[in-house]
Subunit: 436 residues, 2 copies
């Protein structure tokens, strides 16, 4: 497929927006136990990284998202439950497969690899245990494109995918072999800095371009949460960012897309009233109380430390054999700022985590606390301003937005306990698309 990309682009460059739908393959496909019946119009499924529902509520209240407001008059909005721990790799992997972490194998951005015993980032498709909806859609004849902000997600999520896949972060280093396209900057603009609002807006603009040009008709666009880590929903910077998101959603709607959006996780302030971070350095505490050999892994850890200093609302704890897990669990639960402590069996059954890639305990913090390892593991000097983060139960519920009304079956599904990783199911099977 890759080799023909440039040709395809040239052929379709002049196609008009309202003609796009006519060329679209709507062959059904099945993957990971579900059937998908994509509509014969372009689809843009968006993961707005860190988009707690409050960002939408405030942005709509302040009038900076007029296109979304209009879309919701006839479309769908509700809350869906994400995967725990509420981190980026975990939820993006769940979304592109339609399955929880116990099945994807991705229960953190950062894990101890059970085969090597080494601490590693899960930024590789070798850790993803399932095939993806994106790959299956491409195999069924859709023109698939996946655009990420952070390059860490690009290879992971485009596993075995025949189509276009690139990141904002490396938008100026594309080649057809790897990315299915060798130029984006001449069309969408120069590569923005990764620590910027534009890093995310560029993802959406790329989606608009790919659909408008006919290069793609089945897109997964996943942004970065730099802005949400840095700014509360009411901040002028947030409002400006969401105004930008709204404009791109508007362009996708103008192209006749089914637009579906959710988030990988929410976001909460993690500070006391003076602005100091509320942090539990859990490994330090545990070693002091129970002795050496206890290891705390922070699954939020990724290469982008300015966001959060590797401090999130969930950690996993590895215990030496001689230490009683029950006793340690009860002691951790007694700490202020800890909301839940799961032993491995309930981490697997209740949090849907992969048993082989977590420790003996899994710990979730309260709404305003984060959990770290030791003070030395976290460089707080890199945090720009207030600490805002995610990973726990209080960042689990996220919005589901659909440009079209739901059919009866999926309206019922939207009640109860729908998940953010049902979004392709909702977008393919759940919406009523009336073509003129």
């Amino acid at each position: 497929m890759a080799a023909t990309t440039r040709l395809t682009m040239d052929k379709t460059k002049m196609s008009l927006a309202h003609d796009v739908g006519q060329q679209i393959n709507s062959t059904a496909f099945s993957i990971n136990g579900r059937d998908y019946h994509p509509p014969a119009v372009p689809m843009a499924v968006i993961c707005i990284d860190g988009c707690a529902d409050e960002y939408l509520a405030i942005s709509l209240a302040k009038g900076v998202m007029p296109r979304l407001a209009k879309m919701l008059e006839s479309g769908h909005r509700s809350l869906v439950r994400g995967a725990l721990p509420s981190f980026t790799n975990v939820n993006n992997s769940a979304i592109v497969t339609g399955c929880p972490p116990a099945k994807t194998g991705i229960g953190g951005n950062y894990i101890i690899d059970p085969h090597t015993g080494q601490e590693v980032m899960t930024n590789s498709s070798k850790f993803l245990k399932l095939e993806t909806i994106l790959a299956a859609a491409a195999n069924a004849g859709r023109k698939v494109a996946m655009v990420t902000a952070k390059d860490k997600l690009r290879e992971l999520l485009s596993k075995n995918m025949n189509g276009i896949a690139f990141s904002t972060e490396k938008a100026d280093e594309l080649n057809v072999e790897v990315n299915g396209i060798d130029d984006i900057v001449s069309q969408v603009g120069p590569r923005p800095e990764i620590y910027s609002a534009d890093a995310s807006l560029y993802v959406l603009r790329s989606g608009v371009y790919l659909i408008e040009s006919g290069l793609a008709d089945f897109c997964y666009l996943t942004t970065t949460d730099y802005m949400q880590h840095k700014f509360a929903p009411e901040a002028p910077e947030s409002l400006e960012f969401y105004r930008g998101i709204d404009a791109e959603i508007g362009r996708l709607l103008d192209l006749g897309c089914v637009v579906a959006a959710t988030a990988d996780h929410g976001m909460n302030a993690k500070c006391d009233l003076d602005g100091n971070p509320n942090v539990i350095y859990l490994e330090t505490e545990l070693v002091s109380k129970f002795g050496e050999g206890i290891q705390v892994i922070c699954p939020i850890t990724d290469p982008y430390v300015v966001h959060h200093g590797a401090l999130g609302s969930a950690v996993t704890v590895y215990l030496p054999n001689h230490i009683d897990a029950n006793e340690v669990a009860n002691w951790i639960l007694s700490l202020d700022g800890v909301a839940e402590v799961h032993q491995k069996h309930s981490a697997v059954s209740k949090l849907e985590l992969p048993a082989d890639r977590i420790g003996d305990l899994f710990v979730l913090s309260t709404r305003d606390f984060v959990i770290g390892r030791t003070r030395q593991h976290h460089d707080l000097s890199q945090l720009a301003g207030q600490l805002r983060s995610h990973g726990g139960r209080y960042e689990e519920m996220v919005p589901l937005l659909l440009s079209h009304p739901l059919n009866d079956v999926y309206y019922k599904k939207s009640q109860g306990d729908p998940r953010n990783f049902d979004i392709f199911d909702f977008a393919c099977n759940g919406v009523v698309v009336t073509t003129n």
Copy 2:
């Protein structure tokens, strides 16, 4: 005070809306460890029973709450954490005292009274361990009124309060001795049925009347969740109900009020895709597994069974001495539909519950499940339509709405982990009221 009510009413009947503020006592007062500085304008603090944030999101999206939409352009909206279990008496008691259940003593609508061993409803101020903000405001010279939908809350919440207190449910049975007023129906209209939208709207209309007439300038208005139990946010009946709420909020704003609104709890559908209730009959399960003598108490139980059939998302379990709490806790946690199981110590420290009024275990269900006692304890035939209910973690987060912007200190407070029972604090101390 009661004896003078009628005279006061006559005197003030002709006061114009824009004059109301001029007569208002803004003396500060302290209660339960907090200082309150009420503004010199009328205040209406509203608890919209069962108002999950989705009700507002959808109602705003569909354009049925234009006054709220306008209010939020300059006012405040965020999410606050309610008290667990997320039930009505628990959260109303917390709101009127500014304290969690561990301090109010009200950890359920229905408890085992530790003094008698009997199962009782907590619809009496004798169970409330604290004095209220309402009573303190009245003592400081405010004209306080409290209007409830259900009469069960009226006596509980008006403990030692010198002012007006009545319920929609008994609006045609008022007398000055008990209610501080002997006529409302001639002004607000005939008493509506308790199972109706009007039961709640009547509460708000009463507040409008009491403020407009000068009878009150510090109101707590608390509605009933019949509509939310019965209808999802998108249902036409819900939209019509919220249109009605919006109109009354608009009237309060026109009277120059500081309007503050929150909810006691959210609301979720508790059914499978065929509409059958997802119920765990926990006492039946436990007796079958561990033997006789185990007792499950459903703290949602109240006299209004049409709402929910006494099925909610939280129960407490009393164990005979010979049964190991840890073993039972682990077994309960293994059940599908159970999210969290707390033993007494963590129910007290993490859920802030009163130790003397709960059992040995406290159990919270998942988003789409409820927990009952035995099949015989729950009359599902009375449920009208789909089961929607509350009581657990997934009904814990609720909206906070304020008509005025927050000052800097309370904006910081609104980040982090603010609570629904901080609402009087926010309304008295947190808003910037500019008087012309």
